[in-house]
């Protein structure tokens, strides 16, 4: 059946639907890096981030979305990171942020 083009498409819902999202990868990531759960979302990592100041890359947002099972585009976003490690130096919760970047890329690389 050829789909009809009405000149618009059904907007994708913005909702994070935890009933539908597959959290398997997210669980795997948290199992390997449990400290990621201690993030309090202060945003210091994102503020210091060079890539974040040059692009729309937002480390806090991307890893939070990944934890919620929203994997779409996370790999590409994480690829903006230069792994310089400033974020790790400012994280008040002592999260191994560089490790998080590599872990997420590794887990979501096949997406």
């Amino acid at each position: 059946m050829a789909a009809i083009n009405f000149g618009y498409t059904i907007s994708k819902p913005r909702v994070i639907d935890l009933d539908r999202n597959n959290l398997r990868k997210s669980d795997e990531i948290l199992r390997e890096m449990p400290e990621l759960q201690t993030c309090i979302g202060c945003g210091a990592c994102t503020a210091i981030c060079t890539a974040g100041n040059l692009t729309s890359f937002n480390f806090r947002k991307v890893h939070t979305l990944v934890r919620r099972g929203e994997y779409q585009g996370a790999y590409e976003e994480m690829n903006k990171c230069m792994l310089c490690g400033k974020c790790r130096l400012v994280c008040p919760r002592g999260i191994n942020t560089r490790g998080v970047v590599m872990l997420i890329k590794r887990k979501l690389g096949d997406f």
């Binding site: 503020a47 937002n58 806090r60």
Partner: protein
């Protein structure tokens, strides 16, 4: 003969403990390392949430201590203690029947967080500096002019693994809101921003004051931790944070950056604890015997705690604890 109880520390907790002990007919002696009584409160301007002058509380406590004829050894440092004695830095040993440890806590040294530029750039201050400036009546930028934009940063030296301070210092949130209001009262034209991770308004009237700060004083609250500060060409301070609620990096230049410094455990807690075998929490503060039914008692009989020696506390809480600690000590010596 009167039972003698040694109170280590002459801040609000120490003074209140001594007063309560004297009331009960015991003989307290205060040992204070500073040249005068008063502790941290001496540098403070007004107290949240009522804006009561700190001087008012301090003067009253000092007057009553004087009138009660309580013995106070100032400029005297304690190096060791047992339930029945304390050893002073000069080698003297004071003996008594019980000890109340009210030695308080230490303010976090903001220069350790180098990225905030305290001690490097002009116009970066700590909350303690601001209180002092208010007391001296000279609140201004370093060059003496009035600030037009002020930023407060919460949680400096609190909740920060990077400086090995995991605990929440509890009072800085409300201090930040209070100082923001004071600033706004003094400089109505100035824009005041508070950068926070969480705002913890736990006490009576605090949440109301927070609301007032937003509603009446138009103080801006940005949810994000400042990650670095750098000087601008005109001597201001540029700060960077993420506005986490919009998910975008934020930068701004301010005339004054005020760091709300937390409380940390005294360095000498470790050595004081060593002798009698007092337990300490991971944060370095003393650990009370029991957080519910014995929060002013230590794990050693005859040694009691009052005030911030066990954890960050407000002035009101310290005063209450002091009364409770004095009563417990009095019961212990059989008064």
């Amino acid at each position: 003969m009167k039972k003698r109880i040694i109170v280590i520390g002459g801040g609000v907790a120490g003074m209140q403990t001594a007063l309560r002990l004297a009331e009960q007919g015991l003989e307290p002696v205060i040992v204070e390392k500073e040249p005068e009584l008063g502790g941290k409160l001496r540098g403070w301007h007004v107290l949240f949430p009522t804006f009561t002058p700190a001087e008012e509380v301090l003067t009253d406590l000092r007057r009553r201590v004087n009138e009660s004829g309580i013995e106070a050894l100032t400029s005297t440092e304690v190096v060791a203690l047992t339930p029945r004695s304390v050893t002073l830095a000069d080698g003297r040993v004071l003996t008594g029947d019980a000890v109340v440890l009210a030695s308080g806590s230490t303010l976090f040294d903001a220069s350790i967080k180098e990225e905030y530029g305290y001690g490097i750039y002009d116009n970066v201050f700590t909350s303690a500096d601001v209180e002092r400036m208010f007391n001296e009546g000279r609140v201004s930028k370093t060059d003496g002019t009035a600030p037009r934009r002020i930023a407060f940063l919460h949680c400096v030296g609190s909740r920060d693994e990077k400086v090995c301070q995991q605990h929440c210092s509890k009072v800085c949130c409300v201090t930040g809101v209070k100082q923001a209001i004071e600033m706004k009262r003094l400089f109505p034209e100035a824009d005041v921003f508070n950068f926070y991770m969480d705002i913890r308004m736990f006490g009576p009237g605090y949440e109301e004051m927070y609301r007032e700060a937003q509603q009446t004083y138009n103080i801006h609250f940005v949810r994000g931790r400042i990650s670095e500060a750098s000087p601008t060409i005109d001597g201001r301070v540029q700060i960077k944070a993420e506005d986490t609620l919009t998910g975008r990096p934020l930068r701004m230049s301010v005339d004054m950056l005020i760091l709300l410094i937390g409380m940390r455990a005294n360095d000498d807690n470790a050595s004081l604890a060593g002798g009698p075998g007092l337990e300490r929490a991971r944060s370095g503060f003393m650990r009370p015997r029991n957080l519910f039914l014995g929060n002013i008692a230590s794990n050693v009989d005859g040694i009691f705690y009052a005030g911030t020696v066990t954890a960050p506390k407000t002035i009101g809480e310290s005063l209450n604890e002091a009364t409770a600690a004095a009563d417990a000590a009095a019961r212990y010596v059989g008064a």
